[in-house]
C-alpha cells in the first residue's frame, strides 16, 4: 500500500509538468497583455514594450516554460506583477478561507446528503422518497448564487440574524458554507440513493436478512459499506472541484479566498498568479484524488488486494497455513 502511494506521488511530477505546459499555452493564446493593463491605455507603445522586456514576456515560449518549471522546482512560485507580492505566501494566506469554506461545505453536505440518500432508498414508492427526490432536484438545479442571494435577503436583511458579507467571526461563515453545501448535498444524496437501491437488490443483502439480522444491521452494515464506495468518489470530486470552484460563493460573500485571488489575476493578466495558482490548485486536486483512491482501498478489500504485494505462496486455494500468510500480508498493508 505504501509503495502504491509512493508510486502515485511520483506520478504527480509528470502531471504537474503537463499542467504547467497547458496553462502556459493557454495564457500564450489568450489576448491581453499585463504590461498594457499595468500601464493603462495612455502609455505609449515604447513604454509597454519596455515593460514587456523587463517582465520577460518577450522571451520565447519554451524559455518561459523552462524558467517557470525551474523556479517552481526551487520553491519559487513568482510574484504578482501587479502587487509585487510573492504568489505562494499570498495564496497560503487566502487558502485558509477557501479551505474552511470547502471543508465545512463538504462536511455539511456529506453528513446531510448521505442519511437523506439512505432514507430515500429505504422508502421507495412512498411520498417520503418522492419528497426527498423532489427537494434534491431543486437543490441540484438551483444556481448556488441565486440561493446565496435568497439567504442573504432572508437571514441577513430581513431577520438580521447573520452578517451578509465578510468574515468577522464564526457567524459570517454560516451562510457561505450553507450556500456552498446545498447543491453538493443534493448531489451526494442522489448518488447515495441510487447506489443504495442498487446494493439493496443484491443477493448478499438477502443472505444477510436470511441470517435473521435486524433491518438496521442489514442496511447500515451490509448495504451501506458497499453502497458508500461510489459516493466517496463523488465526495472527493466535489471537494476537489470546490477548491477552484468556490469563486461564486467567495465573490457574493466577499471572502478573500483562492477563487477571488485567481479571478483578479485573470482579469489583470497577472501571469505569475495565474500560472502558479492553477498549478497549486491542480496539484491539490490530484492529491485529493489520491486520498480518495486510498480510502477506496481501505473500504473495499477487492481493491486493496490489487495494491497489496502478492506473497509468493499466497496461492490461497490450497490448505495449511497459507491463509495466515495472506492475513499477515493484509495486515501489514
Amino acid at each position: 500500500m505504501l509503495k502504491y502511494i509512493g508510486k502515485r506521488l511520483l506520478m504527480l511530477i509528470p502531471t504537474m509538468l503537463g499542467i504547467a505546459l497547458v496553462v502556459l499555452i493557454i495564457i500564450d493564446l489568450t489576448p491581453g497583455d499585463p504590461a498594457r493593463v499595468l500601464l493603462g491605455t495612455n502609455a505609449t507603445e515604447e513604454q509597454v514594450e519596455e515593460l514587456r522586456e523587463e517582465l520577460g514576456l518577450n522571451k520565447p515560449f519554451l524559455v518561459r516554460y523552462w524558467e517557470f518549471v525551474k523556479n517552481v522546482c526551487q520553491g519559487n512560485f513568482g510574484s504578482s506583477i501587479m502587487t509585487q507580492r510573492p504568489v505562494f505566501s499570498e495564496m497560503l494566506m487566502r487558502f485558509r478561507y477557501t479551505l474552511v469554506l470547502v471543508v465545512f461545505g463538504t462536511i455539511f453536505s456529506t453528513i446531510l446528503g448521505i442519511p437523506i440518500g439512505i432514507y430515500a432508498a429505504n422508502h421507495t414508492h412512498t411520498w417520503k422518497d418522492s419528497l426527498a427526490i423532489f427537494l434534491s432536484l431543486i437543490c441540484v438545479s438551483m444556481p448556488s448564487f441565486w440561493f446565496a442571494l435568497l439567504m442573504i435577503r432572508f437571514f441577513g436583511v430581513k431577520l438580521q440574524w447573520l452578517p451578509i458579507s465578510g468574515i468577522e467571526d464564526w457567524k459570517g461563515w454560516i451562510l457561505p458554507c450553507v450556500a456552498m453545501a446545498l447543491g453538493l448535498m443534493a448531489l451526494i444524496a442522489r448518488q447515495m440513493r441510487s447506489d443504495m437501491l442498487e446494493v439493496l437488490r443484491q443477493d448478499y443483502i438477502t443472505t444477510a436478512r436470511s441470517k435473521g439480522l435486524s433491518e438496521r444491521k442489514v442496511v447500515y452494515r451490509h448495504a451501506l459499506k458497499n453502497a458508500i464506495i461510489p459516493v466517496i468518489m463523488v465526495i472527493g470530486g466535489v471537494f476537489g472541484s470546490s477548491l477552484g470552484g468556490s469563486l461564486i460563493t467567495e465573490v457574493i460573500f466577499s471572502i478573500p479566498g483562492l477563487g477571488q485571488y485567481i479571478m483578479t489575476g485573470l482579469n489583470n493578466r497577472d501571469y505569475p498568479v495565474i500560472q502558479s495558482g492553477i498549478l497549486i490548485i491542480s496539484t491539490l486536486f490530484a492529491i485529493i484524488i489520491l486520498i480518495v483512491d486510498v480510502v477506496f482501498a481501505l473500504v473495499d478489500p477487492r481493491i486493496r488486494s490489487q495494491y497489496t504485494r502478492r506473497k509468493k505462496n499466497k496461492g490461497g486455494k490450497s490448505d495449511d497455513g497459507t491463509g495466515k500468510e495472506a492475513k499477515k500480508a493484509n495486515a501489514t498493508a
Binding site: T124, H125, Q202, D203, Y204, T206, T207, A208, R209, S210, K211, G212, L213, S214, E215, R221, H222, K225, N226, V299, D300, P301, R302, S305, G316, K317, D319, D320, G321, T322, G323, K324, A326, K327, N330
Partner: protein
C-alpha cells in the same frame, strides 16, 4: 399424529409489476416431517424459490405479496409473526442456502465476520466465542480456520458455497432450505458439496428442503419429492414411489426427457410446449395444454389432489379414474 415440522397450507404468492399480476405460487400445500429430506423439483419459474423465500419471509417487499395461506412451523404460523420475532427464526431455526455463491456473500466483509455474525445474533456469546465457533464451522465444511480473516473474492466458487453452507448451519437450524445449492457449481464440486451436505445433515439431524431441477441430485440426496408446475405442487411422494411409479403426466414427461443409459435412441423426448404464462393462468388444469391425456374436463376444471397410494398424492383427474 406426530408433530409436523413444517406445514404449508393454501399458500398463494403474487408478484406485482406495473401492469401485471404474476401468480407465482397458487394454493400450495406441503408438509415436512422432522428429519425428512424433500426435493422440490420443477422447471425455472415454477415457484420453487418463491415457496422457500415465503417460508423465510424474505420475498422482496415492494413487489411480492402473500395473498393467502399459512406456514406452520411446529404449529406456529410464521406468516403471523411480528418481524422482530421472525428475525429470531431466520438463520436460527430455519436457514437458507442460495443458488449463486458468487453473489451470496458480502464482498466487503470477511467470511469470518459473516459467519460469526449469524452465530452472535442468535446466541448470547461474546465476539471472540462467536469467531471461535465460526472457525469450527469453517473446519466442518473443510476449509482451514486460518482463512476466517479472508474476503469472499479470495475463495473459489465451490469454497464460497461451503462458506454459505457453514453460515446457514452455524446456528444448528432444524430446517435447511437449500435453493439449488449446486446449480452454479461444476459437476465435480457438485458431488463434493452434496456429500458434505449429506454428512452434515446426518450429523446435525437437520431437515432439508432441497430445491433443484436435477432428478439425479434428488435420487442421490432426498427421501421425498414434490414436483411443482406453474406455482402448484402436482405430485408428491417418496423418492422410491415417484421414481418407480410417476403418476402425473408432467412427472412422467420429466422422466421421459432424461437421457437414458440403456436406450438406443439418440434423441431426448422433451415435453412439448411451454409452461403457461404466470400472468394469465388457464382456468382448468395448468398442464392440460401440453398433456397428451387431456380431456374437456381438464380444460374447464382444475383437478383436486388425489391420493394414489399412502403418502403419494397427485393433482390429476387420471388418478381419480384409477380409483
Amino acid at each position: 399424529m406426530a408433530e409436523k415440522l413444517l406445514e404449508i397450507k393454501n399458500l398463494s404468492v403474487e408478484y406485482h409489476s406495473d401492469e401485471d399480476i404474476l401468480y407465482a405460487v397458487n394454493n400450495v400445500n406441503l408438509t415436512l416431517e422432522p428429519g425428512e429430506t424433500l426435493g422440490l423439483v420443477g422447471e425455472t419459474g415454477a415457484g420453487k424459490t418463491t415457496i422457500a423465500k415465503s417460508i423465510m419471509r424474505i420475498l422482496p417487499a415492494a413487489q411480492a405479496e402473500i395473498t393467502s395461506g399459512e406456514i406452520l412451523y411446529r404449529g406456529e404460523n410464521l406468516l403471523a409473526l411480528k418481524e422482530k420475532e421472525m428475525q429470531k427464526v431466520r438463520g436460527n431455526k430455519i436457514a437458507m442456502i442460495f443458488q449463486d455463491p458468487m453473489t451470496a456473500l458480502n464482498p466487503v466483509e470477511t467470511v469470518g465476520y459473516q459467519i460469526a455474525e449469524a452465530i452472535k445474533r442468535h446466541n448470547k456469546i461474546s465476539r471472540n466465542e462467536a469467531a471461535d465457533r465460526a472457525g469450527d464451522m469453517l473446519e466442518m465444511v473443510g476449509i482451514p480456520r486460518e482463512r476466517l480473516g479472508e474476503y469472499p473474492h479470495q475463495f473459489s466458487g465451490g469454497m464460497k458455497q461451503r462458506v454459505v453452507i457453514a453460515m446457514a448451519l452455524a446456528c444448528n437450524p432444524e430446517l435447511l432450505l437449500a435453493d439449488e445449492p449446486t446449480t452454479a457449481l461444476d459437476v465435480t464440486i457438485q458431488a463434493q458439496v452434496l456429500d458434505m451436505m449429506r454428512g452434515l445433515k446426518e450429523k446435525l439431524g437437520t431437515s432439508v428442503i432441497l430445491i433443484t431441477h436435477d432428478f439425479g441430485v434428488v435420487a442421490d440426496f432426498c427421501t421425498a419429492v414434490a414436483v411443482t408446475y406453474a406455482g402448484e405442487i402436482i405430485e408428491r411422494g417418496s423418492v422410491d414411489r415417484i421414481f418407480n411409479n410417476p403418476q402425473h403426466p408432467y412427472t412422467q414427461g420429466l422422466f421421459n426427457s432424461l437421457p437414458s443409459l440403456e436406450a438406443t435412441s439418440r434423441r431426448l423426448k422433451p415435453i412439448k410446449g411451454l409452461m403457461p404464462d404466470p400472468t394469465a393462468l388457464p382456468p382448468g388444469c395448468r398442464f392440460c395444454e401440453r398433456c397428451e391425456y387431456a380431456t374437456e374436463e381438464c380444460a374447464k376444471k382444475a383437478p383436486e389432489i388425489y391420493e394414489v397410494e399412502p403418502g403419494h398424492t397427485v393433482k390429476c383427474f387420471r388418478a381419480r379414474r384409477d380409483d
